[in-house]
């Protein structure tokens, strides 16, 4: 049915895509959460409002969030070479994926935290909570559904980024679709690779939605 598809390679590249998505996803979660918390905390008078830090972090996040991903990869080539010694393969795509996605996710985390009712933070304060206790016992649990749904959106975006990274030498289904499918006019390879990417996205979205429903206790 798909004469040019080598299923062995197709599976290998699917794993490559999953590998990049997962590793970049985890790193993005950690870095984005930290950045998002910094953004929120330094902009909230109830916590540690600090205008200079906020403006600084905010500017960095905005810059990296605004650079189109394809250009970001190119800009990061020297950095990647310095870090990993190579520009090719899935691991080489990771720095760009993380640097591209983490600021995006940081804004989502900031938004999620801002949705937490200030009254609840004040209540915790009135009970003698420390700032740190407010962060990990109030802010994060209360914002968790939005933090998770933001992560779902971000990981889906990362899947898209991996495909772009593939074009400039990263591994995975994007690379396969571009080199084997597009450049060699093997449309069936492009088609199958696309379907596989879609399946990955659907599965991620499904898991994310289920998780959010499970942890969201706001509605009865």
């Amino acid at each position: 049915m798909f004469p040019n598809v080598d299923w062995q390679i197709m599976m290998e590249q699917t794993w490559e895509t999953l590998y990049m998505t997962l590793v970049a996803g985890v790193a993005t979660f950690v870095i984005g959460l930290a950045l998002g918390l910094i953004l929120y905390i330094t902009n909230e008078s109830l916590l540690l409002k600090n205008r200079p830090i906020y403006v600084f972090v905010s500017a960095i996040v905005n810059v990296f969030r605004s650079i189109p991903f394809i250009i970001l990869i190119i800009l990061l080539i020297p950095f990647t070479l310095f870090l990993l010694g190579t520009m090719l393969g899935s691991t080489a795509a990771l720095p760009a994926l993380i640097i591209g996605a983490a600021p995006f996710y940081a804004r989502m985390v900031e938004l999620a935290l801002r949705e937490v009712d200030r009254g609840v933070i004040e209540a915790a304060e009135s009970m003698g909570a420390t700032k740190w206790q407010i962060i990990y016992k109030v802010l994060i649990p209360e914002a968790l559904p939005a933090i998770v749904s933001g992560l779902t959106v971000t990981i889906v975006a990362i899947v898209g980024y991996t495909a772009m990274a593939g074009v400039v030498g990263g591994g995975g289904l994007g690379n396969l679709a571009f080199l084997e499918g597009f450049q060699r006019s093997q449309n069936d390879v492009t088609f199958v690779a696309t379907v596989l990417i879609l399946i990955i996205v659907f599965v991620i979205q499904f898991i994310g939605d289920r998780l959010v429903t499970k942890i969201d206790k706001r509605s009865a």
């Binding site: 004040e122 009135s126 003698g128 649990p141 206790k217 706001r218």
Partner: protein, 370 residues
Amino acid sequence: MRAIVVRTIKCARLLKRARFFCCQEGKVLIQLRNVAKWFDTKNGRVQAVDDVSLTIDRGEIFGIIGYSGAGKSTLIRLLNRLESPSSGEIEVAGSELTKLSPKELRGVRKNVSMVFQHFNLLWSRTVAENISFPLELIGVPASERKRRVQELVELVGLAGREDSYPSQLSGGQKQRVGIARALATNPEVLLCDEATSALDPKTTDSILELLVSINKKLGLTIVLITHEMHVIQKICHRVAVMEAGKVVETGQVSDVFQHPEQPITKEFVKQIGAVDDLSLTFEHLKERYPSGQIVKLKFLNETAEQPILSDVLKTHDIGFNIIGGNVTQSQVGALGTLFIQLIGEASEIERAIASIRSQSVEVEVESDVS
């Protein structure tokens, strides 16, 4: 029949309560000296609290009443230093709040709990987990927390709902969780920031009763702010009236009710239709005259102007007690409401009620008012 507002019985009761609680001398728990708080905004300085001096005694329920914007919310938030005063001194349970380090302040806050208008529960936590929250903050071990939560759940009447989430509770139940949470650390002071303002009248009453029972059972000092005079009347021993950041009048609730001095206080006292809130008196009367029949009479316009009651009482062999009543103006004219207790033979009372009814006066038998 016009404006017969007999509050004697009620006032006597209030006075008795007030005396009972306020006579532990020298037990000042909260003291404010010349406290002011202003906010500098884009539109200039806003003076929220203006030179307020107050003392609140241990074990009393102290009410602060004022319209929105009077500064009462800021004032109560000064008492646990959610706001810092711009000037003046605030002493709570022996600690001068303005001189505390952050760590000392956190310690004081465990002793001065707050209940909020919008409950401010953590919706990601169950009832039990919400109540246990302040205990977690101070590192109480899990088994001890569990025991304490169970006590509190029972105290506030939420047994069986421990594992519900706040979103599954009614407003009144949420506030019960808020109160239980506030009591978890065994505080000496409970601050209620409009704790009943988001609740319907019936739920408000049940929460107020809970506060009174906590005050009695635990000897807790309660400071509450409200814009509803009936909250003050129902549970407070002393009241401070606030207007434009200043405390314009303070005193025993009974005194303030009988002799309001400031115009604003008079307005608040006027809010109270004596008729709406006589449950305490009913109970009292029922105790004293178990045979008596409490009835509510409703007069409209001309019936309000005729001596119907006195005619009926002349022709029937019964006595009566006036409990309370009032006349309000409505779209359809003057509406009179009168609560009386009829005392005498049951059959005679029945006949009297029938003949009052025949005069097109509405009669509701109030024996089962609770």
